[in-house]
Symmetry: C2
Subunit: 265 residues, 2 copies
C-alpha cells in the first residue's frame, strides 16, 4: 500500500488527524520537499512530533529512481509526504500511476493548499478565481521580467472579471547554474510585485505571506506600493483581483488594509 499524504501548509500540526494516524502506522515514510516545503517544520521536527523516521528524497530520488518507494509499498505500508496537498505536482501523479501499474494499492489523504488559504485569508471568493499561474525567477525562464504566458493568463482572467492566484517560484536543489543541492530560494512577494508592476503599475494586488501559519500577513495595495515593502519569512503568494463584489471589497479593506480608493466599484 502506498499512501500519499498532504502535510498542509505550515508545520507538523498542519496535517489532518487522519493523515497523522496513517503516518504513524506506516512501515516506512518517504517525503519530498523540492516542489514545496513546510516553513515551520523540517524533517527532524516531523520525526520528533510523530515518532517516525522520514526518508527525504530529492527530485532524482522520486522521478528517476522511485524503486525504493515502490518496493517498500509492495511489501508493506509506505507513506509519501508532500507539503500542501498531495498529487499537486505531476511527479506525484506519475508515482501513483507507477504504483498502480505494479498492482500496488494507493490512497490519498488530502492536505490544505495555498490556493484555498489564499482565498479564505483574503476574503476573495473561491469560485471567482480563474486559472492560477506561477511567476518564475527571471533566470529560470531565461528572459527578463514576466513571461508572456503569465501576462496572458492574468489578462484573460481580468477580462472575465476573475481573480488570479500567482504562485511564487521556489528553487530548492537547483539554482541559476543548474543542480545545486544547497540552493534554496523563495521568490518574495515584493520582488514579484516589482516584476508585475512593470505592466500594471497601479493595479491592486494582495500579498499573502505565511498562509497557514499562526501569523499570516495579508496586505492589499497597488503593485508599485507592494514592491516597496517587505513581508518577512516565506512562503509568499500574490493575488491579482478581478472585479470585486461588495463583500470582497469590504474584506480587502477590513482584513488587508486596502486603500478604499482602490476597491471602489
Amino acid at each position: 500500500m502506498l499512501t500519499f499524504i498532504g502535510l498542509g501548509l505550515y508545520d507538523e500540526r498542519s496535517i489532518t488527524v487522519e493523515g497523522r494516524e496513517a503516518l504513524r502506522s506506516a512501515d516506512r515514510v518517504f517525503a519530498e520537499f523540492y516542489t514545496s516545503r513546510l516553513v515551520g517544520a523540517d524533517a527532524e521536527a516531523l520525526e520528533a512530533a510523530h515518532g517516525i523516521e522520514v526518508e527525504v528524497r530529492g527530485r532524482e530520488g522520486v522521478e528517476r529512481d522511485p524503486e525504493a518507494i515502490l518496493a517498500a509499498a509492495e511489501t508493506g505500508d509506505a507513506a509519501f509526504l508532500t507539503a500542501g496537498d498531495t498529487m499537486i505536482s505531476t511527479t506525484h501523479t506519475d508515482l501513483r500511476l507507477r504504483a498502480e501499474s505494479r498492482g500496488i494499492e494507493t490512497r490519498v489523504i488530502h492536505g490544505v493548499t495555498a490556493q484555498s488559504a489564499a482565498s479564505s485569508l483574503t476574503g476573495l471568493q473561491n469560485y471567482r478565481f480563474g486559472k492560477a499561474v506561477t511567476l518564475p525567477f527571471p533566470y529560470a525562464h531565461g528572459g527578463d521580467g514576466v513571461p508572456a504566458s503569465v501576462v496572458e493568463t492574468i489578462e484573460a482572467n481580468r477580462g472575465r472579471g476573475l481573480h488570479t492566484l500567482v504562485y511564487l517560484d521556489i528553487k530548492v536543489g537547483t539554482g541559476p547554474s543548474g543542480l545545486d543541492p544547497d540552493h534554496e530560494e523563495y521568490m518574495t512577494a515584493d520582488r514579484a510585485a516589482a516584476l508585475l508592476a512593470d505592466g500594471w503599475d497601479d493595479a491592486l494586488a494582495v500579498v499573502v505571506a505565511r498562509a497557514g501559519s499562526p501569523d499570516p500577513v495579508v496586505v492589499a495595495d497597488r503593485l508599485a506600493a507592494l514592491a516597496d515593502r517587505t513581508f518577512g519569512d516565506p512562503l509568499h503568494t500574490l493575488v491579482i483581483p478581478g472585479d470585486l463584489h461588495h463583500i470582497e471589497a469590504e474584506a480587502l479593506v477590513g482584513l488587508a488594509d486596502a486603500p478604499e480608493s482602490l476597491v471602489e466599484e
Copy 2:
C-alpha cells in the same frame, strides 16, 4: 477571540491537528452545516470525538442573528466550524468582518477543500483549472436545465483549454417551496451529468464522489454515459476537463477508468 476552523471534507478526523487543538481549547463552539456538511460525521459525532459541545446554527442564526456568536467571542474563545475550508462562503467573511469591526480578534485555521481534492484525486493539475461553477437544482434557479451562466463558464474555460470544477447543489433547510428545516437534498453526479449532457452529450467528464472519505469514487466517461450510472452516497462533484496533458490523460485512464478513445490528444 473568534477562530474560524475548517473541518475538512469527511468526518471528525478530517480536521487538522492544529484545528483540533483550537477546537478543544475553545470556550464555546458554534457550527453551521447549511453551506456544506460532513457526510461521515454529524454534530454528535464531533462532540463525542473531540469532547466538546457544538451549537449548530441555521442560516438565520448566522446571517441575521450572529449576536450569540459575537458575544461569546467578545468575552472568551469562540470557535466557528464549517465543513471544507472556512471562509468559503461570503457568510463567513461577513461574520469575520463584523467581529473585527467590534474589536474582536479573529483567526483562521484552514481545512481541506473539495477543489483541491477533486484535482488530486483525478490527477488533473490544479493550475489548469479555470473558474469553478455550481450547478443548481432546476427549481432553485427557476428555469429548466442548466443556467446560461454555467454554460458560459464551462465554454469559456474550454476555450482556454482549462478544466472546470462543477460543484453540485446542496439544499439544506430550504427546499422547492422555500424555508423547510427538514429539507436535505444533494444533487447527484448522474443527475448533473444528465443535465449537462443536454448540451455536451459526448463530452468527457469526471465524477468525484465522496472526496476525502476512505472510499472516494472517481469515474471518467462521456456525460451521457455517466448519466446512466449511480455513484452512491453524497457529496459528489463533477469535472469537465479541458485540454489534457499527457500525464493527465494517463491519470484519467489509470485512476478513473476513462475509455482510452476519449482522452486521445
